[in-house]
Each structure stands twice: as structure tokens, then as C-alpha cells.
Symmetry: D2
Subunit: 479 residues, 4 copies
């Protein structure tokens, strides 16, 4: 039976790109989405406009699978927005693929959204009571219905009205036949950067998407800022009530690409410092420092440089892992980790090794990696984590397990050490992390300290869940 | 460029089936849809219920292509409804495939609809102004939104309220977890029949769908009747304002299967009489009578029997024609007709032949058939049409071209004769047709006489069209 | 487990077409294959030549599914051959799709073949012993290997040498860059006709394939004739030892299209006479004559005309049946027949009906049809078969069951009558059939009289089967 | 026009795996192929045996795409072989996918082959003259035909006879119902390793495929060795004439995985030494050492360690590149390299950087990388190559361009420096490379020094090409 049951709290990690006034804008958006592929690999979509119509294509899969030359050619016009989506739940339906298009009294409108709303179920319930019919389970559709029901007479006013009603994290792109809109929530949870390219603009989640299309990085879209680009002119507005910034620190720790600049700071520099600080806080005598590739490579380098202990590649990561992999009946030791990693005996045999990783969620993968290193003859294994213990889930768009699944939330450091079977383990301190990220107090570190800048409206989600069967629940799948 | 432009007046011919309280109801609905395949071959869908959930699958294609054993198995439960769709326009998108499912305060609801509303664009415009967002271009979605916005507290009341607002032709099936609903519009344009099968009921567009599942024909669902089957009990209601019946006479002429009984009369009998009456009205001396297969076979038999002129198969029809056929650069004479028909020289050579056809729309196919018969040596060709000249389009669900394309609407009989290059041509009279159908005055013959029982709300459609781009207009196609 | 086990005696029914010197020849071959679709619906293929190269495309499916405009465009040149294949066994693999192409010392060669060899297993065994490696299970590959091993220096000589070694039924087309070859075996089992089209030629299994491309029927390719068309000139050779003709009479009874002319006689005329003779031999008092559509329609008309008993359509045949159809757990009476046929109560109720059918193999379908007619109220049912009892299998390309499955081979006429539950049953006499077909003694009637003109080399097939696992046996299927 | 033209010299890089006596052997082979994915990503296939039958599945695509759980389940038995294929030419047809299966007098036989024969065209020509018909363009089929034509009475003898006739590089696996065969050519060009797993054996191209299935590395299969595993016993034979070893040194430089041990030496160690020797031979003052990831990472580490200059990640490599990527009309500077690499300004700005790469073929990618680094502000760029100049093509299975395309073959060092626009460039010496690889003289370095241990039989290839059109040349593609 392959009908799908969806999670009531869909969490989404996404990448967004917009290109304004560039010949064949869809083609550049496609390249930008390729650069942001790490932010979402389940679906990809582009909506473009030639000033008369909005053209749309979206499908399940990676960017290179979704778009053909023929499809890009049909996405006409010199303005376009795109979206990569990663759903952390089972509800990876095609119709959830973004950007979303709607017809409205303001004409055709396209929306692409990165983030997670905290009051979407409450709003959804209210809208459904008034007769709105939902087609997807993505937060973006709540915004769509708020726009459709707005009594405002301009799209700008309706957009501001709708965004005032929603709460949580959003870096949003909107497209009409005449203008491009980009908004970042007042807390600024998710990154959004602005670039310039001869005669036009490029907006994207990270600067690596500017690099690939030869756009020059200008600045961040600021928390609470609404940018409207119309008639080749960029205007900036701040229509929302101000509040304290709370930039997602996990973008630095793990999620963003090391070649990107976000929140006005190169990720590479931050990670080097995370590693160096970790070395200062928790030094240990050893023969080599090695990363769990790829996300920990730079912080491991930082650790090595600071400590003077040689850097080595003790684990090889395979990049050929598809969506599913079949486990043999005849059990392979540490199967899941083995598909992805292989330890190198020539590197670790009879060595005291420091293994640097960015974070530990459940601890299961790390445990398998340690076993692999042991069976290759590692003499001592010291785990160093370039962030504090992950103790709380995220409500703003990062896929972090629930509290009960987080090993650091349910076990002491000593217990974790035993579980992983390592000679020592240490986590970077909150202060050390904060300092490495510039020392400011403008970060959201809720996953580490439990201080949620915007509370989750969880009651409505539960009551919604009690009242309703989501339409996706019993859809018979294509295959 | 393969973006699709849709027609503002989507015309739909459809078949619907419902099965109540039969083990594996979806499987029986599937067979019923197979029997109704002639009513729509573009998409097929089934929604079933096990009393707890509604299960849905629909896709583009014929019934045998859409459903696999695995899919039918997942459509659980002992109540189900199904739908075959033929769209006469380009907008044959998957999301237009029925049955439609919606989540509402009444729980999950499924709808399948055969017919054409005459005020759907007006209602659509009003609903959109109030913030409803449409996802398809099918009339059924108008009903869905009316239901979603109803302030009634029971589904029955909301359904009656919604159906009171719509105008035109509809034979509608609705399904909730608890009950099955069947409604036929007050004019009774489209057929809908009720059958009994041990322990349950079957409802379908034509009796051939009852035959295939061994259900016994009971009676028609009556014009204006609402049937509710709940807790194994069938209740009948007449909640709508009565009006004069106007059954679609074209179902007898062409559309229904010759082995069906609709409007309480066997189609075979009616067609035999149409042919016999035609022979009485327009006799001609000839060597043989031949039909344009398959729809005219029975009326040709009627003509032959009445006239005493031998019946022969002078044209073979191919049943292997797929969705598209590729014309060679090197032109083949009468290419389109030749793919479908081949004339038999052994039958027509040196013969005076009477060709019986059910109707003439543009006349292009008939012209090619006549050429084929001539090139096979037919000495005389007399065309006899078993219905009056088709002069007007249909607004109630039959795919008839616009007035300007209808040859009988723009040309005299003499001109048609010349265009077809035949020795004589004659159409059955309106009186003859009426008499063959039972003589009653309860038929809609608008395509022949222009008397539309329910006027088309065309102003709203045009104004809708002027204001809006339909969302489907610039969707980039999958292939 | 879906690995396939193949039958050691693959039987094949096929259609072949060749077009010489016509612009875009592949396009015309495609139309010819469409007209011959009834001869094989499992795979279709075309090989064309532009004088320099041979272009090939073949795939599983019907002609309209296999070829797109794009593919036809790539099949360049003004000479082409095509093939429709129906395999009567499970081995319907793609690589069995014809035409076959080979590279040889004579250059590229294409082969398309209709018929069944009687010594293919013996030849295969010999060839494999000498080191030939077979890739398919089709007879045609035996010819390919004989050509590859020939010591002759011209393709014509090698072809004659190879064809001299094979025995059985074949209507063969071959194509090189320079010439088109057509051969019919000395017995002339399968039909093959020659047509003329301005500036070129068309060769096909039946004349209906000439009609669709506007080619004019010239004559049969004669038994034992080798036609070579080269440099725009057609040459005829008779290089094989003569023997008595044995044209397949079953092509008239059932297999060929009623609008074709084969063996120099229109199929329609023959079928009318089969019906008329049947009426003379086995008259019966009744209210109506009805065919089992579509293959028996013309002979039923012949019976009706001769007897004066009215002709009616008492069974409707569905043309929407796909490759598989799913039977419900909840059994439907006469399920298999019901998918294909529906009886019309309005026609048969309280009537004495004569049901004309072309032949009875296992009798299962006829039994179900009789049940359907009974449940529609038929008072008397008299079955009349327009051929003699089918008693023996065919080794020359017609899909007739084994002797033990043939009802007439294992039961008396009285038993068959009881099994079918009919009031009377009668088969046409061998003399009556022979006379209707022109009275000559040049037909193969082996399925009726057991006189096989060419014996099956069955020992070698069995010994082959004992020694070897066929490579197809354990191929894991794609789906 | 998408008919394919193939190269007359198909070069293939491949990975092979065999598993003997392990429950569900196909599942382990599948994991081994996953570990060897870097050796070939165009097609993957497995043949297994349960002692009675050989089961086969192969398809185009990566391992994780080709095999489903269902397919692996059908590949029954406890012995299996598998193959990954990368074709360097256009002829990536499905039927070229390995392992190949043949039926022969020795029963069913499966073959999987890594390497390139130097006399395959000559043998092919001879075999075709004698009547063999080839179905693929892979070398393996030559072996298949030699086996089919052998007069030997045992498979072992026939295999030895066939392998004695072929010349060049081959690491071959063969499978019958009863036994597993592994052979490495007398020169030992390609690696092949033997591992042990409780109760059975595993043989693979590299040790990383042993690691993933928990097999313990035992030893290399030796040059000229034939291993037969039958009745749970491994026997070793050396039936071929001995000759000097010539192991492919390029496996160390680039092709093998850094976590593998081949030719009895860990690849990681060799690469570290290549980098260290390079630093000793060509030191330069600079701020950082960076690799062109991923293949040069270890040698860059070696350079950094030896020189004491800090190691950094100055280029990020994307792992999401699909088979094709669409270039915008609006040209992107250094498009091809940009899809794969992005330079990090935070790392290289105002720095003197040493870029370590493993080899330079055409130089085009390196030129683009240098441009990227310059535009990120690198002050000086010094390129260091961890192998000597690549001057000659490879005939033994590595995809190296022709001499005229190799920049080092057609340009001086000074010209290359100018073309790449770098401040300095240096290649490792042949002696330095040789020493890093263990100093022995048993390597094939033909791509560097032009000393080909086995000459290419190129005359026959050319004459073959002159005489024949390969059958694949004008196959119309599926899409």
C-alpha cells in the first residue's frame, strides 16, 4: 500500500533565485538553482515573464533532470524566478513544487518562498472556514490565499497586508508581468542576497548563485526589507514593524556553501574560525586532524592550522548516492554510513586521530564512522564538534529532528562518548561559536539554546490535525 | 512553442459510473468506465471510499491504460465513482481529470460530472472576486467552490444550494465517506440510469455500463431528481424547481452506444426507425445501402429493411487510430479519411449506392469518403442523413462546431450536394426524427432547430476572457 | 518472479510492406503498416535507405505508438521496408522486433519476414555448432546467419542459397543500399501483392496497404518468385524448384481484411459466398441472422442474403481493449467475452437467432456469447460456422491452438452443441469452403484436413529444447 | 538528426566485481559496483547464477538508477558478476551494456571485461569473414565469438585458447552455472584484487569494492593469472606466456579511488609522495597550496606538508552535474568550469597560490580555473602538476585525447604557461613519479614516455573502417 501519510509540520529547506532584465532570464535562473542545489534536491521550478505572460515549469528532481533545453526555451522573457525544494517529510508531491502561480485581480502572480511560517495552520484553518480551497501543503499557499482575499487595490499593498499576517521565517520572491518583488522577514532568519549584472539584477539565497551567472555581489536584502524592481529601477521599502534580527547561525555551521557570503560574512572564514576556536577550547594530543567530509572540511582545516597537527583525508565520501539504496538481506556492518563514507587504512592505522564534524543530531552516523576508523586500526579517536550540542528542533526551515531524537538532548556528554565509543569528545561553546560568527548577538541559536525568537503556533496545527484529513493523505501514487 | 492556448468555452463529453456496496467497488467502476469509453478517451479517474477515507487515482489516457491491478487494489472500499473525460479543446491537462476531490467542513468530498454549465464563467468571476482560487478549467470546480463557501450545515443542503445556482446540463455524482449522491439537472439533458446489483446499486450514463457488471437496469434517474444512497437505503428527492424536459436527442442520433437504453428507450430501436423513416421520406433507386461505420450501421440497416435494397459493408473502418497520426510530406489523397476508412471496390464497383450517415458537421470527411467510393467505381452515390441538418452549436456538452463551420448552416442543400459531389442528398425531417424517437416533445433539438432550453451566459464568458489570462494558457508542457 | 519462459515453437503472424522510389518512403511504409495492423500489434519497425546508409527504428507497440514524426524524419531515403509483428508466445522481446539489420560482406542488409519456417531449429542447431551466436528467437535470424556464412559473392546468389536451405512459409522482403528484394515461398502460403505508384513500386501482404498509399494493385508476387527492383527496374526470377501451390485458405476465412484482394480474389466476395454456401448447406428457420463481429460480418450478410432472413447487429464489439484487462475478484459472469462483446436485448429478445462465426478454436468465447444472448431473452440460438471444423494446428504462421485444445478435435458435433448450449450448430463443408474460394485445389487446408504440404521438422526442435536453455528464458524484465 | 556516429576506437574505462558463495550475491555485487562508480557511469549490469540458470539485468545509467529492490531480488543465487561501463565515445548503446551473456556448447556463459584490446578489429574482421555476426561494438564480443568457435571441449580450455588470441589490456570475469573465472592480462595493465569474505570470495577492480561489502583484502590477481573458483575451492593457473609487467601508472595518478589499494600499494600514500616529490623538485614561495578537487586533494596535501605552505580549499566542486547541462545563449564566462567549480574569494584574494592538479590534457579547464582565481583577486598563481607532461594517447583503457589535442604534445612549457596565464608552471619528472610509485620499472607510462608495451593493431582498424559501416552508425535513437 503506497498511499502517503504526511507529517503535519512540513519543514522545508529551499533555495530561491531571481533574475531581472537579462536576455533569457530563465537560463540564468537555472544556473543559479544549480549552484543552490544543496539547499533542495526534490523539486525545481522556474516561472518567467516576457511582460505579457507568465510561463511556468516545475517538476520533481534535481535541476539538471528537470530542465531540458527545450523547456528553458519556452520559459520566455527577461525576468524570472526559480525555486529548489527539499521537503523533510513524505509529502514531496509534484503539486507542492514551487514557484506557485495564481490568477488574481492583480493578474498572474508567481511566488517562491524559502522558510517556514509558524502560524500557517491557524491561518489555513481560518481561510478554509471562509471557503478557501487548498491544493498543496506548502506554506506558500497560505500567502496565495491571503493575496486572493485582500481588499487592497494594488499588488504591493496586498502583498504587505498578507505578509503582515504571517509569522516566522521567509525569504520570498514574487513576480508579476511588470515587476519583481523580494522580501525578507523582519527577523531575517534565512539569507537573501542582491547582486548586479550589466543592465539588471540577480537575487538569490546565497552568493554562490551570483558567482555562477557572473553577477557582482552588492549587499544583503535586509531583514524586513521589501525590494521592488520595476521599469529597470530598484526601490527599497521597510513596511513592517521592526524587531531584533535573528539570523540563522546554522547556515554558517552547516547549511550554506563554503564559497558563499551570507549575512555579510564569508562562510569559509567563519568555518575556519569555528575550527580554530574549537582547537583553543578543546586541544588534544594527536597525530592528525581529519574532517567528516564535505561540510566539516574547512573547520577541520581551522583546527589543524591552530593546533599545528597535520590535516589528512581519512574518510572518502561517495557522491553517487541516489534517492534510494537497497540494503542486502545479508547485513553489511554500518551499511548506511558505508554507502557514503569509506575510511582509509593507510591514513589512520596506528594513529591518534581527531575527527572534526559540524554537529551531531542522532549520533548514528558518527557511531558508524568511528567503527570504520577503529576497524582500520585507529589507535585513539577524539571527536570535536564545531558547534554546541544540538538540543532543540527548528521551526524556521532547518531539518532538525525532534527533541527526543537529538542525542545531546537526552544524553550526557559522558553517555555520548560511550555511545560513540571514542576516547574523547568535545563541543564548541556557545560563546566560542558566537565569537567565530562575529561576536554579535543578532543570531537565532534556538537549536542550541532554545530561545525561539518567534513562537510556533502549535495549538492550531494540532487542532487542524484533529479536525481534518489532509487531501494528500490517500492519494494513490503514480508508481 | 508548445504552450497551450485554451478555448474559453470548454466543451466536454463525459461518462460517469457509481457503484454502491459491492466488494472492490473500484474494480466494477473500472469496468463501467470501459463500457463508457466512447464518451471520453482523454482521461479516466476513480475515487473510492472504505467508509473512513477517500482514495483517488486519475490520469490522462484510456481506462485500460490508466489503471493497473495495483492501482485498483489501492482504491479500497465498497463504494466508488468514476469518470471518463473527453475535452473538445486543447486544455486536456491532467489536473482537469475527474473525479475531483475536495476537503471541506463536510469532510472529504468527491465529484464527477457529465455536462456543460451555461453560467460557469459568470459564477467563476464572482467567486474569484471573493477570493476563490481556481485550479482547473472544468465546470465541476465551480460547484466545488460553491460547496466550500456554503453556509449550510449539512452536505445535502449545501449540494442543493450549489446546484440551484448553476444552470445548464449536468448529470452529477458525489461521494462522501458515508453516502453516494446522484443528481440530474431539471431539463435532463444528459442520460443517467439506475441499476440494481445484489445488495447494492450501480448508476451510470448508459445501460451498457450496467450490463458489463451484471447489474439489472431499474429506471432512469429522473430530470431534477436527487438520489441519496446511505446506510444501504436509496432515497429520492426533487428539491429543484420543475421545468419542461429537454433530453438531448443527439444521444440517440450519434453519441450513445447502440446497445444502451437511455431515456427509457433502446438506442438500437430508435436508430432502426430513424433509418426506416429516412427511407420513407427520401427513397431512391439503388443497388445497395451502406453505412458510414460504426455509428450509422443500425440506421443504414433500417433504411435497407424498409426499402428492400440490399445492405452491404462498402467501407471498412480501422480501429487502430491512436491520438496522433503523421501525414507524409508527399500528400496522400484524402489522407485523414483514409486512415480511418477504406472503400471496398468489390462491393461498390459499377453500383448505385446509398450511403447512410448519422449527421454532417463540416462535410470534409464525407467528401473524402465519396471520393474514395468514386475511385472504386461507384456509379451513383446517394447520401442519406438520419438526422436533420445540423445548424447550431451545442451548449450542453456535445462537441458540435461553431455555426460558421457547420456546412448546413452556411450552404444550401444544392451547394452541399455539389461540395460532396454526390448524385443526391437528403436529410431526415425534424418531424421524422421526432417520431422515430417516440414522437414526444420532450427533446432538446437545439442543434437542429436553434431552440435552446437554457440560454448561454455568454456575456460573462467574454468579459471573463477579456479580463483574464487563464492560468493554463502558458503552462510549459511536460514533453 | 517475472523471468520469461518461452515456447519452443514461436508462431508468428506478421504484416510486411516495401516502398520503392517514393519521396520519404518510410512515411508510406508507416501508413501501409497501419493498414496491416490487424496482422500484428506487438511490435513495428521500419528500415529505410538513402542509397548510402540503412536507417532503422523498431519498438514494441502499435504503429501509431511506435513512430513519431521525428522518428519518421530520421528514416531517410526513398526506399524502405516495414514489419508488424504478432508473437503468439511469451517471447515478445524488443530485440525480436523486425526488420532485422545485419552487417555483412554484402554491406548492410535489412530483412522483414512473414511466415513460419519448419526447419528453423534444425538449422539453428547446426549453425550454433559451427559457432554462430543467436540473439533472437525469430526465424528470420536463421536466414541472417545463412547469409553471413554463404561463400557466394553476390547478395542475390547468397539469398537464393540461403532460401533454398529453409523450408516452410515465408513472404520475405530484403533491402540493401542499392536494391529491394521480395520473395514468396514456392508453396505461396502467405499472400504478397505488388502495386505501382507513380515512379515506383509498393509491395505488401495485402492490397489494403496499397490502397492507403494510393498505389495501384498490379498482381500477386507469385509463389517461388524472387523480385529484384534495382536502378528503377523490376526483374522477376524463379530460382527455386517448383512445387504445387498451397495458399493459406485461413487468410480468406479470418485473417485478411475484408477490403483486401489476396490470391487474386477479393476477400469480401469470398466471405459473402462462404456465408451463402453455409446457408444453402445448413438452412434453419429463424427471425434474424447476426454475426460475431467483426470478422464474421460479411459471411453473416451472405447467409442473410441467401436465406432471406433479416440481418441484424445483435452483438456490439468494443474496440478499446488494451493489452491487459484486470478481472475483479468479485467474478463477473463471462468476464472475458463481456469486455469485448455486449448483446443487445432490443434485438434478440424472444427471437430465434442464427449466429454466424468464422471458426471455433477452443469454444470458450462462443459459449460466453451464447450465454449473453440467452440472458437477453433469445428464444432459439443456431450457430453456423463459415468454415469446417478446425482440427489441426498450423505450422505456417497462423496462431491455431494445439490439437488437444481444439474443441472440434476432441469433441463430437453433438458434444460441442451441448457445450455451447445451442439449439443447433453446423459447420461449412470442406467442399463448400473450397468452392466459395474458387473451387481450385491449390489451397493449404491443413488446419481442416491435416494434409500438411511441408512437414514440421519437429525432432530437431525437441532435441534443441532438450540440449539448451534459450537465452531469453531468464532475462529479468524491465518492469 | 540524432543518428549516432561512432568512433572506430572505442575506449572504455570500467569497473568489475564478482562475488562467490554469498547469500544474495547480486546485492553485494551491486554495492561493489556502487563503490566503483567512478570507473564508469554510463551503464551497469549484473549476471547471477543459482547453479541452474544465469539471471541478467543491465541498463543505461548509474548503479543506483539501474537497480531496484525488485530487480536485485530476481537476480537469484549466491554467485554473481557485475560491470560498470564508461564509454569514451558516442556509442553508449544499451546493447553495449555488460556483462554479456551467451549460450554455447558449454552452456550459458557471462562475461564482464575491463580494458582495451589492441587487436580486436583484426580479429573481428576475421570472424566476420567466417560468418560471425556482431551485435555490439565492445571488445568483449570478440572474446564471445572466439569462445563460440573454439573446438576445445572444456570451457577452461576454450577460454585459455580465446585469451591467447587477444592482445592488450583485460581484467576479465567469467561466470558459468558451476564456476567463476577471473583473469588478468600478462602485462597486468588494469588492477584486479582478490578478497575473502566468510565462506566465499570477492574479486574487484579496486579494494574500495571489498571494503563496502566487508571483504578482507587478500592479494592482487597477478598479471597472467587465471583464477577458477569451483566447488568452494580457488585454483590458480598461469597458462599464458610470461612477459614484463606494465601496470598502468595513471591508475595511481588519477583514476583509482584514494581509499583503494591497487598494485599492492595504497593510492593515498602514492599520491602524498607524488605531491611531496613535486614540492622538492619545483618549490616556489607562496601563501597557500590548493588542489583542483577532488582527484588532486591528496597530492596537494603532500605538497603542503613537504613545503610547509598552508593547505586551503580555494575551489569548491559541485557534485550535482548531470549528464547534460544547458549553456545559455547569453554567454557565461568560463561556463563549463563554472558549473563544476567555484573559486573562493575569501581564500585567494591578494594571495600567492600554488594550484596542484594531477594532469593536464587539453588545458582548457585549467585555463578557466586560473581565470576564476584571478577574478577573485589571486596575486600570483603557480601551477604544479603531480605527473609528467601527458604526451601520448592510451590504447589500454584510459580516456586520453589524441596527440594533437594534448597541449603538452603540441606546445612548449613556456607556451602552456602563457596559455594558462600563470606565473609559473611545473610538471613532476618521470623519475620523481616513478620513485613515488615505488621506484620500480614495472609500470606502463606510455602516456608520458610513448613506450607502448603492446602495440596497437591499427592497420586492421583502419581497413575495417574503410570496408564497413558499423551497424550502430545509423540507428535512430529512442528519444
Amino acid at each position: 500500500m503506497s498511499t502517503k501519510k504526511i507529517d503535519i509540520y512540513p519543514k522545508e529547506e529551499c533555495g530561491v533565485v531571481a533574475v531581472y532584465k537579462q536576455k533569457q532570464a530563465a537560463n540564468l535562473v537555472y544556473l543559479g538553482l544549480h549552484a543552490l542545489q544543496h539547499r533542495g534536491q526534490e523539486s525545481a521550478g522556474i516561472i518567467s515573464t516576457d511582460g505579457n505572460h507568465l510561463f511556468r515549469f516545475a517538476n520533481m528532481g534535481k535541476v539538471s533532470e528537470v530542465f531540458s533545453e527545450n523547456k528553458l526555451r519556452q520559459l520566455q522573457g527577461d525576468v524570472a524566478i526559480g525555486h529548489n525544494r527539499y521537503s523533510t517529510t513524505g509529502s514531496s508531491f509534484l503539486r507542492n513544487a514551487q514557484p506557485i502561480r495564481m490568477e488574481s485581480k492583480f493578474g498572474s502572480i508567481a511566488l517562491a518562498h524559502n522558510g517556514n511560517l509558524t502560524n500557517s495552520w491557524k491561518l489555513r484553518l481560518e481561510l478554509e472556514k471562509e471557503g478557501s480551497i487548498f491544493q498543496t501543503t506548502v506554506d506558500t499557499e497560505v500567502i496565495v490565499h491571503l493575496l486572493a482575499r485582500s481588499k487592497e487595490t494594488t499588488f504591493k499593498a496586498a502583498l504587505i497586508e498578507a505578509l503582515t499576517k504571517i509569522k516566522g521565517a521567509f525569504s520570498l520572491l514574487a513576480l508579476t508581468k511588470d515587476a519583481l518583488y523580494a522580501v525578507r522577514d523582519v527577523n531575517g532568519f534565512r539569507p537573501l542576497v542582491l547582486g548586479k549584472k550589466a543592465g539588471g539584477w540577480v537575487i538569490a539565497s546565497e552568493t554562490c548563485a551570483l558567482d555562477i551567472v557572473d553577477a557582482k555581489y552588492e549587499r544583503e536584502v535586509k531583514p524586513g526589507e521589501l525590494i521592488i524592481i520595476e521599469d529597470n529601477e530598484l526601490k527599497s521599502f521597510f513596511p513592517f514593524e521592526k524587531c531584533k534580527e535573528s539570523l540563522c547561525i546554522f547556515e554558517y555551521i552547516y547549511f550554506s556553501r563554503p564559497d558563499s557570503t551570507i549575512f555579510s560574512r564569508p562562510v569559509y572564514d567563519v568555518r575556519l574560525k569555528l575550527g580554530a576556536t574549537l582547537s583553543k577550547e578543546f586541544p588534544v594530543e594527536a597525530d592528525l586532524v581529519m574532517p567528516v567530509p564535505d561540510s566539516s572540511t574547512v573547520s577541520a582545516l581551522g583546527y589543524s592550522t591552530e593546533s599545528g597537527i597535520p590535516f589528512h583525508i581519512g574518510l572518502i565520501r561517495s557522491h553517487y548516492i541516489g534517492r534510494t539504496f537497497i540494503e542486502p538481506d545479508q547485513k553489511i556492518r554500518d551499511f548506511g554510513a558505508k554507502l557514503k563514507y569509506n575510511a582509509i587504512e593507510a591514513v589512520v592505522k596506528n594513529k591518534r586521530v581527531i575527527v572534526v564534524d559540524d554537529s551531531i543530531m542522532r549520533g548514528t552516523t558518527q557511531r558508524k564512522i568511528v567503527k570504520m576508523l577503529r576497524s582500520c586500526g585507529a589507535k585513539e579517536i577524539h571527536v570535536r564538534i564545531s558547534s554546541p550540542p544540538t538540543l532543540y528542533p527548528c521551526y524556521y526551515g532547518i531539518d532538525i529532528p525532534t527533541k527526543s531524537e537529538l542525542i545531546a538532548s537526552t544524553h550526557t556528554l559522558e553517555e555520548i562518548k560511550k555511545y560513540l565509543r571514542v576516547d574523547s569528545i568535545a563541543y564548541l561553546s556557545i560563546e566560542g561559536m558566537s565569537e567565530a560568527c562575529g561576536g554579535g548577538h543578532n543570531y537565532c541559536m534556538a537549536c542550541f539554546d532554545g530561545n525561539y525568537p518567534v513562537p510556533l503556533d502549535s495549538d492550531s496545527a494540532d487542532s487542524y490535525s484533529n479536525q481534518k484529513t489532509l487531501f494528500e493523505e490517500y492519494e494513490v501514487e503514480e508508481n
